[in-house]
Amino acid sequence: MAEQFVGKASEFKDGARQIVRMGSDEIGIFKHEGEYFAYSNYCLHQGGPACEGLTIARVFEKLRDDKTSVGLFFSETDMNFVCPWHGYEYDMKTGECISDRKIKLKRYQILQKGDEVYVVA
């Protein structure tokens, strides 16, 4: 298993990201709520830089018991990242495409050695 140095944990701020190249793949590494998530940076749609766009909370629609709509809201818990080419949205914690959860970005393992963060492939 190859390891690629990403950066120092002490300098990797929460909400930040790094893009590293590893072999034939580019990998996006996010730090979200203290946890690292690493995915292929090639969007499943047309190959855009999936990890280089906005991070934005998942939108959901709230319904009342009688099925009438209350409206649209941002989630307090679920975060997505968005491919900047066309807006494909991915679940930060799983890499699943939120409009079709049967497909998801390739996920990579993160290894922390002391203050150093590595991605493993």
């Binding site: 090639y42 047309q46 190959g47 855009g48 830089p49 766009g53 906005l54 991070t55 934005i56 909370a57 941002f74 968005v82 900047p84 080419w85 066309h86 807006g87 949205e89």
Partner: protein, 413 residues
């Protein structure tokens, strides 16, 4: 630069650099060796409304020019009709909010430089440059201003922009279709301009009857000059039928197809294909799924009611197969359905690749190149060969020339 995400949270992003943004497109172009095939993008855009300071001086009417230029400098009023819409998805498609941050070199048209960047990144050789805001010009309540704005835009485009592009940008110029006499004057004035391959009618119009007798002289003038006529679609939330839609996705998904279905129906049923058999007609930016729908629908009704369209000598779908269609936004959801669509429309000879860049739902050449059911000939034709033949675009290297000859598409002299 900061973009606003959820609940006002700010996300810092770098300035826009089209070449960097499209780096993965460049990888695709290299991996697929696009250089050997001529690729023509028959529908790309620029944001001409950001150049109004250069465009408005070309207006002919002194009074209207003064009104628009004066009001513009004080930001007191808008110039072209606009509608509600959220193309940028709340900033998720970052090239919209970041557009003004992209740096270009002074001394050359900014829109040409941006066009070269995305063409180079995608592996595109030629692009047909269409406006963005002016696609709503058909909704202008004053037809004299529709005409004057089209006139000013067409002069600016043909005199200031296209000549700077080294031949790689061409256009089909906007027609003020609310006024047939003015449309004819546009064809007569601009029809022989360099880098002009035809004329474009924005189909975002509620009252357009493409079969109106008053328009026949316009079609005839375009046909006589060996040019093409394009109908470019778009969304319009203000259209009464769409006022029941509560989400932009609904208006966008239906609107583009709706207008092309409406106007293509009138075009076919009124026998325009019989009246102007040598006029190439293109239907742009409505995707493809509406085409098999309309073919089946019209053929079915024609078999029952042929007396209502006596000019027709064959089925409506046959006339539709005589016309051309742009690929984008291509619905690649059900590969078998897409293959059937290609078969029904004779895609190998009637379909033209389009990116629609920089708009939010652009398509790369790989959307065509990677289709598993296409022959090599079909790939070459759709990606550029058919357009090269239609618009007389020359190859840019020897390999492209050989392929154009191989598939019968070399027509530039």
């Amino acid at each position: 630069m900061d973009l606003i995400a959820d609940r006002g949270r700010r996300v810092t992003v770098e300035e826009l650099n089209t070449t960097k943004l499209l780096a993965h497109a460049s990888e695709q172009a290299k991996a697929r060796d696009y250089k050997r095939m001529l690729i023509v993008d028959c529908d790309a855009h620029h944001y001409e409304t950001e150049n109004m300071g250069d465009i408005l001086p070309f207006m002919e009417n002194d009074v209207y020019r003064q009104i628009l230029m004066s009001g513009r400098s004080k930001s007191r009023h808008s110039i072209t009709p606009g509608g509600v819409g959220y193309q940028d998805m709340g900033g998720r498609v970052t090239r919209y909010p970041l557009r003004s941050s992209e740096k270009t070199e002074p001394g050359r048209q900014r829109d040409v430089q941006l066009g070269e960047r995305w063409m180079d990144a995608m592996g595109v050789d030629y692009s047909c440059m269409f406006p963005t805001g002016m696609l709503s010009i058909g909704l202008h309540p004053q037809k004299e201003l529709e005409s004057d704005l089209c006139w000013a835009y067409n002069r600016w485009l043909t005199e200031k922009v296209l000549p700077e592009a080294g031949g790689r940008l061409y256009s089909m110029l906007s027609l003020p279709f609310s006024d047939p006499d003015e449309s004819l004057r546009h064809v007569e004035r601009f029809g022989d301009c360099k880098h002009v391959t035809g004329f474009m009618v924005t189909t975002v119009r509620s009252n357009m009857a493409v079969h109106d007798n008053a328009l026949m002289k316009v079609y005839r003038a375009i046909e006589e000059r060996g040019l093409s006529l394009a109908f470019h679609s778009g969304p319009n939330w203000g259209e009464p039928v769409f006022k029941s839609c509560n989400r932009f996705i609904s208006v966008h998904a239906l609107g583009f197809s709706f207008y092309n279905i409406l106007h293509c129906t009138n075009w076919v049923i009124n026998g325009m294909g019989e009246r102007f058999p040598k006029l190439p007609v293109l239907w742009i930016e409505a995707g493809l799924s509406w085409i098999p729908f309309l073919m089946q629908r019209l053929d079915h009704e024609y078999m029952l009611r042929p007396s209502e369209c006596p000019l027709l000598k064959k089925k409506p779908s046959d006339y539709m197969r005589d016309m051309y269609y742009s690929t984008q936004p291509m619905e690649i959801q059900d590969m078998e359905a897409l293959q059937t669509t290609f078969r029904m429309m004779n895609a190998e000879t009637q379909l033209l690749y389009a990116s629609d860049y920089p708009h939010w739902d652009f398509d790369l050449p790989s959307t065509i190149y990677d289709l598993p059911f296409l022959s090599e000939k079909a790939k070459h034709n759709i990606l550029g060969g058919t357009a090269a033949h239609l618009f007389k675009l020359p190859p840019r290297n020897e390999a492209q020339k050989a392929n154009l000859i191989k598939y019968g598409n070399l027509s530039a002299v």
